[in-house]
């Protein structure tokens, strides 16, 4: 028999507490952006600032989902559905595997236009062979 667990909303004080914590975390995000957080091994890199900002944003998002959206208090089925959505989102980062590893295997034409982030033209072996003899033949010249 199904219970009325879907009606189990948190008490008002949970909402108030959540708002206070979210506000503090928002201020923490702003504060963390004003200082440079050194990255181990590469102190000049802004990597740690990005990591901290996104970590705080993820905690804030978790609090909104858990308390304001009531996922913490809802049924198992709804919980599963909600978590599935965010799991799908993380799978989108698989695209990074493509963009992040393209320079591991250079292809003629990809580096052609500096204003275009990802220029990509068909790989033409005959042009590559010509380029190896000292001639500069970009793939953009191929027709």
């Amino acid at each position: 028999m199904a219970s009325d667990s879907h009606l189990n909303h948190p008490p008002v004080k949970h909402y108030v507490f959540n708002l206070v914590v979210l506000t503090i975390l928002m201020l923490a995000t702003i504060g963390a952006a004003q200082i440079h957080i050194p990255t181990p091994g590469n102190p000049e890199s802004p990597l740690m600032n990005n990591v901290v900002a996104l970590f705080i944003a993820t905690i804030k998002a978790g609090l909104v989902v858990a308390v304001f959206m009531g996922v913490r208090y809802t049924t198992t089925l709804v919980k599963m559905w909600a978590y599935t959505g965010f799991t799908w989102f993380t799978l989108m980062f698989i695209m990074w595997c493509d963009y992040g590893t393209r320079n591991w295997e250079p292809v003629a034409g990809w580096e052609g236009n500096p204003a275009n982030a990802l220029p990509r033209e068909p790989y033409r072996p005959e042009k590559k062979a010509a380029g190896e003899h000292g001639e500069s033949h970009g793939a953009t010249e191929a027709h």
Partner: protein
């Protein structure tokens, strides 16, 4: 199952005559509510994918042009973005309170909470459009044929030590295109949220049957919290880029 054979009402024939809010295809209110919530979350999953693709695109370009993005992000005012973040957090709180009162069937209090949420949403849009978008439009910094990237258009934004003009106009347009597309899409969601919230307020004011079931308010609340959720990530990604 109902045993009554005298009733001609399909609802009563299905044994659900005891609860006027229960639709005939559901066994009980629990199943109905759970189905509504799963349906709403399915919609939100598509929204996550929708915005997710934009976030991935943003991350790829920011990775490639990290320094340029840092320079151009100085066009944005992090203080206004922070105020808007707080406004949306407040609106999420009032929306959650609205759902809370809907479970208690306190329609007048629900409407007060929803009205405050609408007020916050309007304040968000006024700041976004009036103080953020409009000055950029006026200075021809909106990507497109009229885009200008020179001392005149950047007069307001160039500060001592600023190296904005060293950034390629194409990359500046790339950042601004992402900014206007993502915050614009978010703004459209805010606008839709306002319309839905006002519609819900009318239902509660008239105390229509659909307003008697708290789950309708809960579903609108889920949508509104999602709008807040997107902004939680947009704010640090666009306004607080580290050097």
């Amino acid at each position: 199952m109902a045993t009554s054979t005298k009733s001609s009402s399909p609802v009563e024939q299905h044994g659900h005559g005891h609860d006027p809010l229960l639709h005939h295809q559901f066994e009980d209110m629990h199943q109905q509510t759970e189905s509504y919530l799963v349906g709403m979350w399915s919609f939100l999953v598509t929204e996550i994918m929708f915005f997710g693709a934009l976030f991935i695109m943003y991350s790829i370009y920011r990775w490639k042009y990290s320094h340029e993005f840092w320079e151009v992000h100085n066009l944005l005012d992090w203080k206004l973005g922070g105020i808007n973040t707080f406004i949306l957090l407040l609106s999420s709180f009032s929306m959650a309170m609205g759902v809370h009162y809907a479970t208690l069937k306190k329609h007048a209090l629900v409407n007060r909470c929803l009205a405050f949420t609408v007020l916050c949403a309007c304040a968000f849009l006024v700041i976004k459009l009036g103080w953020e978008w409009w000055p950029k439009w006026e200075h021809n910094l909106f990507p497109g044929p009229g885009f200008e990237w020179n001392e005149h258009s950047l007069e307001k934004y160039i500060k001592p030590g600023s190296d904005l003009l060293s950034v390629s106009p194409n990359i500046a347009q790339l950042f601004l295109s992402l900014y206007f597309a993502m915050t614009g899409l978010h703004g459209i969601h805010v606008l839709v949220g306002i319309l839905v919230l006002v519609g819900l307020m009318v239902l509660h004011k008239k105390q229509t049957p659909s307003a008697q079931d708290y789950v309708n308010t809960e579903m609108v609340g889920l949508y509104w919290h999602f709008v807040d959720l997107v902004w939680i990530f947009l704010y640090p990604l666009f306004y607080l880029i580290p050097k």
